[in-house]
Amino acid sequence: MKFVAVTSCPTGIAHTYMAAEALEQAGKAAGHEVVVETQGAAGSTPIDTAVITAADGVIFAADLEVKDKSRFAGKPTVDVGVKKAVHDAPGVLAQAVAAVEAGPVAVPAAAPAAGAADGPATKVEAGSSTANRIRQWLMTGISYMIPFVAAGGILIALSFMLAQAVWGEDGAVKVTQVDAATLIDQFSVVSGQDWAVLLFLVGGAAFGFLVPVLAGFIAYAIADRPGIVPGFVGGAIAVTVGAGFLGGLAAGFLGGFTALWISRWRVPRGIRGVMPVVVIPLLSTLITGGLMLVVLGKPIAVLMDALSSWLGGLSGESAVLLGVILGAMMGFDLGGPVNKVAYVFATTGLATQGLADDAAQFQIMAAVMAAGMVAPLGMALATVVRKRLFTQAERENGKAAWLLGASFISEGAIPFAALDPWRVLVSSLLGSAVTGGLVMAFSSTLRAPHGGIWVVPLIGNPLGFVAAVAIGAVVCASVVIVLKSLRRVPVEASAQPVATPA
């Protein structure tokens, strides 16, 4: 059999190499081929991707975290301490042989997803195709982002639920109107309202990291550690200029490649020492942040203005058409600039004084919120109906997406959209448009700017509202399933470097 192994130890000068030699000798003695990567102080040369691909099994004899562990994902693996390999290399090898004979590991999903199960993938195999590498960069960012989506989204959803319970029928609105200073001043452990506010503020803080984390870890996957700063800062600026997660994707790639480029400069020896701590972060962050602000900020502001005035001019059109347009905008970029224009359009209408109970403004608000619930629900539904079209990480995210969708937290769909933007956004757009149109047709109304299913008491014709959301979610799920099924290379195959781009 063929094995690849990684050895490492705390000091990196003795055990690492003894274990490597012992494993190689044990392999020779037992008639197995063992190729060892020593991740020690003398630097390590990564094992050739082709060798890893050809290997039957993997041996980790490492006391430190294995670098780029994702390279080995999906293969039968034994994980022992470095000492075990030094003291009993034949035993470790026998264990590895047994692991290989026990058969392939269950569900070798996409390599990045498998990596995500035990700490997100960090880097990308050198030999893989461009499409595959882009996918792995994205997956790295997404796998770090998902916990933020889940933590923040669920806290906010819980906040809405609690607020509805303790604060009356518009609790989900009131809970968002208390600021941190007030909470700090008045917090009482026996007040349900205070707890609701606390959940909302903590959830909101977690949500604030969503785009920066996405951008930061995409950049990290591209450029390794130098990518972190420009990626995070670029992501934060994407938030500032209202560019949403699409802006975050741009920031991640921009920051990553800027950092990679600068880190490859040939510099005099004297400067080399300060490159990683000063020069690379300084320049890459300046370039990335500057470009995000100047190049991206202005067009987005112009776009938002144009969309706003266009929407304002649509008031004469039929209600259903307006609902379709607003719905499509909500689903288009999930919290990005287009989504924001539609949302602001609706909430601005709410502020109009003296509206009748069935005023168009209330219908528009209902259409916008219903449409904003569709994408997470549709994706959650799709992960249940067609599991194999989604990576492990996506399926996990799908579970949280049910609650996030029900709570009108469109961001629950971002992990899906970031990995496969056009298929997910097209289906989100279609599903949300259907829902927006249906809500207008059913004449549902809504007097709250958010809260999702938890503000049902504030919804007029709630049955129509729920039906519209459900139909839209089914449309969204169906479209995404069809689009993903048409893809030539299924998710599973991208574990290997593929010649055909996905």
């Binding site: 000068i13 690492t16 190499y17 030699e21 030094v86 003291h87 009993d88």
Partner: protein, 151 residues
């Protein structure tokens, strides 16, 4: 490399220490006497700190205390044969052969590769036996010089 990893002066054919620290101190003393270690106590402390993390006893009666330390001037190897044996925490018994590796804190790649090569050689029984049965310190240093070649 301007200096070799070890010299006859760094070999103790009959080390007499009865515990780990005594043996380490004796071998470190050889390194200090040759000017390869600048601060004996500081270096010994660094080695013992590494020992405290995990024992460095290896199969085949080997003790392999080592440290990357600011008190090391030149990457060096001191070798002690301990006929009475001394416990280095190996599961298969006391160490009768102790290699003390001293690596400078900012050791460059060439030095580290030499040490890596040494660690690899130690796995081979033939290498250990040759060191054990060498007639004198010069022969021991000779074996190291010949066998330990960076790959």
């Amino acid at each position: 490399m301007t200096t070799t990893l070890t010299t006859p002066a760094l070999v103790a054919l009959d080390a007499t220490g009865t515990d780990r620290e005594a043996v380490i101190r004796q071998l470190a003393g050889l390194l200090a006497a040759e000017g390869r270690v600048t601060d004996l106590d500081g270096f010994v402390a660094d080695v013992l700190e590494r020992e405290a993390k995990t024992a460095t006893g290896m199969p085949g009666g080997i003790g392999l205390p080592h440290a990357k330390s600011a008190h090391v001037a030149v990457p060096s190897l001191a070798i002690g044969r301990v006929p009475a044996g001394v416990d280095f925490g190996a599961p298969d018994g006391d160490a009768t052969l102790v290699f003390l590796i001293a690596a400078p804190a900012g050791g460059d790649q060439d030095h580290l590769k030499i040490l890596a090569a040494l660690a690899r050689r130690l796995v081979h029984a033939s290498f250990r036996d040759a060191v054990r049965t060498a007639p004198d310190a010069t022969a021991v240093a000779q074996i190291i010089a010949e066998e330990v070649v960076p790959s």
